[in-house]
């Protein structure tokens, strides 16, 4: 299965640092390309040779299971040589700075670097010091563009469109890069975005990012086509941002009762990893309206699309 991809669009960017900066054509082009890879990934022979000879480094300063493995599979299926580096094994532990790591890796002539870092803006900082294409796999509370793209693909496949849908993003918006990337992407594609959270978990000024703000689930989920739940980090559960897990679940945890506030055909999403019983009830997470497993599948396809699109802009000489 070595036929070239059918879509031939060209991404307007050298790097994928965020959804911010992408055009609608970029987003649509990536989603269309990803559709091809969804089909490819369901076959026995999943390999393409687009990235043959290319070196892809996955540089993860923050632990990640699904994003890192998803990028690894995506690169390998396209024929790249993939190297994984994580904070626990790298010289970051020995005090080497992000910039020194970037300069060191750059000297090895990678073609693509996939970076996750705990600080907002870190990936952009690194991109300035390397010659290859850089993909943001999550920087602090800033952006996680491939997550937003895979969410968009999942929604589009199930609802047939993005435009005109009402999407409620619920939970820890303040610390969430997934929320930011989704807000920007969904707004760009003409969806209506609502954020639902206790005010302690909303960044002041969020209403100026083009979203409606709701403080309770009944109001927030009313008429929603998509309910997107966010993970609440453990350290934020006990008194610092919300009083307790049980109070949080009582008011903001997604159970069948609260899901009933949304449209009858509403679909449920979660970027994972889930805290069952904190932000989402198991019955909902595993229920008929849940798209959570499909999101993971779309993740590999979207990352293949991103890698392929960026590689089309790489020098060939």
């Amino acid at each position: 299965m070595n036929s070239p991809a059918k879509t031939s669009f060209v991404l307007s960017q050298k790097h994928l640092l965020g959804i911010e900066g992408l055009t609608v054509a970029d987003i649509t082009g990536l989603l269309d390309l990803a559709e091809e890879f969804v089909e490819l990934n369901r076959q026995i022979e999943k390999k393409r040779t687009t990235l043959r000879g290319r070196t892809q480094i996955n540089l993860f300063f923050e632990v990640s299971t699904r994003t890192q493995s998803s990028f690894e599979l995506a690169g390998k299926r396209l024929g790249a040589d993939v190297m994984n580096m994580s904070a626990s094994s790298s010289s970051m532990r020995k005090g080497e700075t992000l910039m020194d790591t970037a300069i060191t890796l750059n000297a090895m002539h990678p073609d693509l670097i996939v970076v996750r870092h705990h600080a907002s803006g870190a990936v952009e900082l690194l991109a300035r010091k390397v010659d290859c294409s850089v993909i943001n796999a999550g920087d602090g509370a800033h952006e996680h563009p491939t997550q937003a793209l895979l969410d968009a693909l999942t929604i589009r496949r199930n609802k047939g469109r993005l435009e005109g849908l009402t999407v409620a993003i619920c939970g820890d918006i303040l610390h969430s890069r997934v929320a930011r990337s989704n807000i920007i992407l969904l707004n760009a594609m003409g969806a209506r975005v609502r954020v639902v959270a206790p005010t302690t978990l909303l960044p002041p000024g969020i209403e100026r990012m083009g979203v409606e703000v709701a403080r309770d689930m009944r109001e927030g989920l009313n008429g929603a086509d998509i309910v997107m739940m966010l993970r609440l980090q453990r350290e934020r559960m006990n008194g610092s941002y919300v009083p307790s897990v049980s109070e949080y679940f009582h008011y903001y945890g997604l159970d069948e009762k609260k899901l009933a506030y949304a449209k009858p055909d509403a679909l449920v999403m979660h970027p994972g990893p889930m805290n069952r019983g904190v932000e989402i009830d198991s019955i909902v997470a595993d229920g008929a309206q849940s798209l959570i497993r499909e999101q993971v599948e779309m993740g590999v396809a979207v990352r293949m699309a991103v890698l392929e699109a960026l590689s089309r802009n790489l020098p060939n000489a």
Binding site: E20, H117, A119, G121, E124, L125, G140, A141, E143, P204
Partner: protein, 433 residues
């Protein structure tokens, strides 16, 4: 450095002396390290024999700047900045007196360290240097320092630098005790708990960048508390860096009530706003943080009205180790001593501030607050003055700045106006030939 001991006549200059509201074309005669006269038409005929007559036609002559807040790094962090390198930067920027901050290593919290800094400055610096001493021992916010002995040793004011004294009881006692010595307390007003993990001004821009914000209330609450304590104690108090209208309102009420309260704003906060941070530019990460444009405009208005007394550089050298990092992890602070005057001239050129007000806030007022002799061109004052070409265009090149660190927020900025000569105690310490 040129050692001109001959009398100097700066002739035909635009002479601006904010201490007298003077703005006229005239001459300034300097001899024996002091200003003899500054007025219209001294003329080359009326000067002592051997006087070096310098034609300053079209140039500004004004008192040298007194920078009320500069972090230096000596002792303890000479790789960031030494008194010598800071003084070179100061001279090139028209600053003739540096007031250095006590958060050195060791901290300037005992008379011996004050003495060390003064001697070190005498031996290595080309401009005047006066240290502020720590308000609390080790800058820990717990026990007050030897305010009397430190003042006698030469400390011009008392401050914990960029740290706030959070314990109100400690602050109350320090204000009370300092009052007995007529010592000025300078306080950085940011509530560290309310700022929490914030790294920039709270609001839409922080939300978009995914950075945690710091509310203006963190500054205003601490200032408000301090004002209540000043009211209680009668101490002499100076807010180190105000940035927003809410703080200005607190300040206005304190001044209206007749309290001995004054305030500074940094050159950064009167010339820049949070949008200048752009794509996570860490050189614009400051404490307190850059605010919104409407805050900056309010701050300028307060300088114009005299509500804010002083503009200072908040000079804070940080090297690549502390700045070439993700925004949240980078140290706050920007260098500014060399660009303070010229950045201020931007405000003059675009009509936001008149020249007399700018110079008053950067020379006369700091001198008055700190009890220093400069900031004036009156006869008998020390010959600390500057000659400035108000119009010369240039672009800030960090490599050409004299500071050891290059963390300027005006990196590659276009400037209009240049310091041509800086004279300290009658000696020319900087000159563009």
């Amino acid at each position: 450095m040129m050692l001109d001991r001959r009398p100097i006549l700066l002739a035909n200059a635009r002479v601006v002396d904010p201490s007298r509201d003077l703005d006229t074309v005239g001459d300034v005669l300097i001899a024996d390290g002091v200003i003899r006269e500054a007025k219209k038409g001294i003329g080359a005929a009326g000067v002592p024999e051997g006087t070096d007559v310098v034609d300053c036609r079209g140039k500004l002559v004004a008192p040298g700047l007194i920078d009320m807040r500069a972090f230096i790094g000596e002792p303890g962090a000479g790789y960031r900045e030494t008194l010598a390198s800071a003084s070179q930067a100061a001279a090139a920027g028209g600053v003739t007196t540096i007031v250095c901050q006590p958060d050195t290593s060791p901290a300037i919290d005992n008379p011996a360290t004050v003495d060390y800094v003064l001697r070190r400055a005498r031996d290595t610096a080309i401009v005047h240097v006066h240290p502020m001493a720590a308000l609390t021992k080790g800058l820990e916010g717990k026990e007050m320092t030897e305010i009397g002995l430190l003042k006698a040793a030469g400390a011009v004011a008392f401050t914990d630098g960029a740290k706030s004294v959070t314990n109100a009881q400690v602050m109350r006692r320090a204000l009370t005790y300092a009052g007995d010595f007529d010592a000025l307390i300078v306080h950085h007003t940011e509530d560290p708990d309310l700022n929490g993990d914030g790294v920039m001004n709270e609001g839409e821009f922080a939300a978009r960048l995914g950075l945690l914000g710091m509310p203006k209330a963190a500054e205003t609450i601490m200032l408000e508390r301090d004002i209540r304590l000043v009211d209680l104690t009668g101490g002499r108090y100076h807010a180190a860096s105000v940035t927003c209208p809410e703080s200005l309102e607190v300040l206005r009420r304190a001044k209206d009530a007749g309290l001995s309260v004054t305030a500074s704003a940094s050159i950064n906060h009167v010339t820049l706003n949070e949008n200048d941070i752009g794509p996570y530019r860490t050189f614009l990460k400051l404490a307190p943080p850059l605010r919104q444009e409407r805050d900056r405009v309010a701050l300028i208005e307060a300088v114009r009205s005299g509500l804010v007394d002083v503009i200072m550089s908040d000079h804070n050298p940080q090297d690549v180790e502390t700045k070439r990092l993700p925004f949240a992890e980078a140290a706050p602070g920007a260098i500014g001593i060399e660009t303070m005057l010229i950045a201020g001239l931007r405000l003059v050129h675009n009509g936001e501030l008149d020249l007399l007000t700018l110079l008053r806030a950067t020379s006369t007022r700091p001198a008055e607050l700190l009890g220093l002799p400069g900031g004036t061109l009156r006869s008998g004052a020390p010959a600390d003055l500057i000659v400035v070409d108000m119009d010369q265009p240039w672009v800030v090149n960090p490599d050409e700045l004299k500071s050891k660190c290059k963390n300027t927020p005006f990196d590659e900025a276009r400037m209009q106006g240049r310091v041509m000569r800086t004279i300290v105690a009658g000696r020319t310490v900087y000159e563009v030939v």
